[in-house]
């Protein structure tokens, strides 16, 4: 572990903290454009965070310590996830801390905490949201794991950095299995980030919401942390998707030059990814909550198919 590597790692974390709300703002802006609405400013999420951090926290009188610690745990989880997902360089000193399987676990931990916190106060919406969140997580996790297995089989490793290195830094080979895995991953990301076909991040329509239902009771800096964590999650998933399926441009070493080259590329890829996300959210209608299992079942099935196709087509010479 070199100093420059450590610096690169720190830079990646700081970049994640800075870029995550921007990505959220960008997606919102694109969505507004696509829906012919006047768009909120690109920096709106920063203003939100700034405002929330200055406000007082209002706690329910029966809130336990879980409710109070949850935002910090969630924020920490997301930050860790961003740290181990290669966005600029595959040389991440923190990467050995968790491989892809553990990464899924980190997301799982965050999910458990947010659901616990949601049910802690005992309001109807909180427990409703918490239960729905667990349902979706329960279905999305296996699909995500299958996607990761497919990738792990290609690169013979479960470490994110190694997977990205294998895929990015060698001759171009078409992996049909990646097409399946990619679609499955998209499905999972949409569900996990409370995006349109499964949840609508922009609505407080009571009976359909999932993510918003869970954080209704939060306020002030707690809410700020949770909102920021949600942005980080979107950023983490975006980076993971980009790293796994469009890994070109991620630097192998920790040279300044490599990093400098990787930043604009990352920005560009995130911008395109965000626009695509907005497009998906615009052309699709939110599905009924009872259709969500079907949606995620499809994702799981696609991931399994990817694995099978990998076994059938790509293992032989």
């Amino acid at each position: 572990m070199s100093i420059s590597g450590l610096l690169g790692q720190l830079f990646a974390i700081v970049l994640a903290l800075v870029l995550a709300p921007l990505l959220t703002g960008w997606v919102n802006q694109c969505r507004a454009w696509l829906q012919s609405r006047s768009a909120p400013p690109l920096l709106q999420p920063y203003y939100m965070l700034h405002k929330l951090f200055r406000k007082d926290v209002v706690l329910a009188h029966n809130a336990s310590s879980v409710f109070r610690t949850a935002p910090f745990v969630i924020f920490g989880c997301m930050l860790l996830a961003c740290a181990i997902i290669p966005s600029l360089s595959t040389d991440l000193p923190f990467a050995p801390a968790a491989d892809t399987l553990a990464l899924v676990g980190v997301f799982g931990l965050a999910r458990i905490f947010i659901s616990l916190a949601a049910m802690d106060i005992g309001t109807a919406f909180g427990s409703l949201g918490g239960r729905r969140e667990m349902l979706i997580g329960f279905l999305a996790e296996p699909a995500l794991l299958m996607v990761i297995f497919t990738l792990a089989m290609i690169s013979q490793s479960t470490s994110v950095a190694t997977i990205v290195e294998t895929l990015a830094h060698r001759e171009v080979v078409i992996y049909p299995s990646l097409a399946f895995a990619g679609i499955a991953f998209t499905f999972v990301s949409l569900a996990e980030n409370a995006r349109v076909p499964v949840d609508n991040p922009a609505t407080h329509l009571e009976l359909t919401m999932i993510h918003e239902a869970m954080i209704l009771e939060y306020s002030g800096r707690h809410l700020a942390l949770i909102e920021w964590a949600a942005s980080l999650k979107l950023y983490a998933y975006s980076c993971l998707g980009l790293a796994l399926f469009f890994p070109w441009g991620i630097a192998a070493g920790d040279s300044i030059l490599g990093l400098a080259g990787a930043i604009p590329l990352l920005l560009m890829k995130l911008a395109i990814g965000g626009a695509l996300l907005a497009l998906i959210e615009t052309v699709n209608a939110k599905m009924r909550i009872f259709r969500a299992p079907e949606f995620l079942g499809t994702a799981f099935m696609l991931a399994v198919l990817g694995l099978l196709v990998r076994l059938l087509l790509e293992t032989r010479v």
Binding site: V173, I174, M301, L305
Partner: protein, 221 residues
């Protein structure tokens, strides 16, 4: 590990997309979308045949690819579209088994197909041999679609998709059947669809619907 030549990679990609489309058809709830998916499948099938043709310089495969494009990607979808419009079919497809269960059964079928085809495709010398498993899987998925759907048109699309799978099998295992046979098959499929088109009108006239569940009168007792 990556010594698979580029053309084979392309063929594999096409085959995978065909498999993906087969699943999409299985999950599709709208008649029009289903027909479009079928047309797309025909198009990808034509592309994959073209890749095989270019790589192996098998001239009759150009003809097969052209025939596929004409018949499966353009003519048949067009006929089906017209039928749906003329018959005012209700656009929602109903399924006997719910979609997730169908999908799970589908995955199991794919596993079976891959297992059956694996040892056999190893014996082939063609560049596209790996796709034999996918071809068998597509056939089985189409079969599944035929037995789980309750409307006449999806059943026919299933039948045609099965035909696509068979065509893929022919190109993947042996670079296509002899031309006489291929022409014969194409003719049969075309005539079949036309006859069915006539048939649809009769069924609708008699039952006021294209729902196959109306047709359960004939039983053994």
């Amino acid at each position: 590990m990556s010594t698979i030549p580029l053309s084979a990679q392309l063929i594999n990609l096409c085959a995978s997309v065909i498999l993906l489309l087969a699943f999409a058809m299985l999950a599709q709830r709208r008649v029009m979308q289903l027909i479009n998916l079928f047309a797309l499948q025909g198009l990808v099938l034509c592309l994959s045949t073209l890749v095989v043709a270019v790589t192996t310089k098998q001239h009759h495969l150009y003809w097969s690819a052209g025939l596929t494009l004409l018949l499966k990607a353009l003519l048949l979808p067009w006929i089906l579209h017209r039928l749906v419009r003329k018959l005012y079919v209700k656009w929602d497809i109903e399924s006997l088994v719910n979609v997730p269960t169908t999908m799970l059964v589908g995955v199991v079928l794919v596993m079976i197909a891959f297992n059956v085809a694996q040892p056999i495709s190893l014996l082939s010398q063609t560049i596209s041999r790996g796709t034999l498993g996918i071809a068998l899987a597509v056939v089985m998925l189409a079969f599944l679609m035929m037995i789980t759907r309750t409307k006449a048109i999806p059943q026919v699309v299933g039948f045609l998709a099965m035909e696509n799978g068979l065509f893929l099998a022919a190109t993947s295992a042996t670079y296509g059947m002899p031309m006489v046979v291929e022409l014969g098959i194409a003719l049969d499929v075309l005539v079949g669809v036309i006859i069915l088109g006539v048939f649809f009108f009769q069924i609708r006239d008699q039952f006021d619907s294209l729902d196959i569940r109306n047709m359960e009168r004939l039983k053994d007792n």
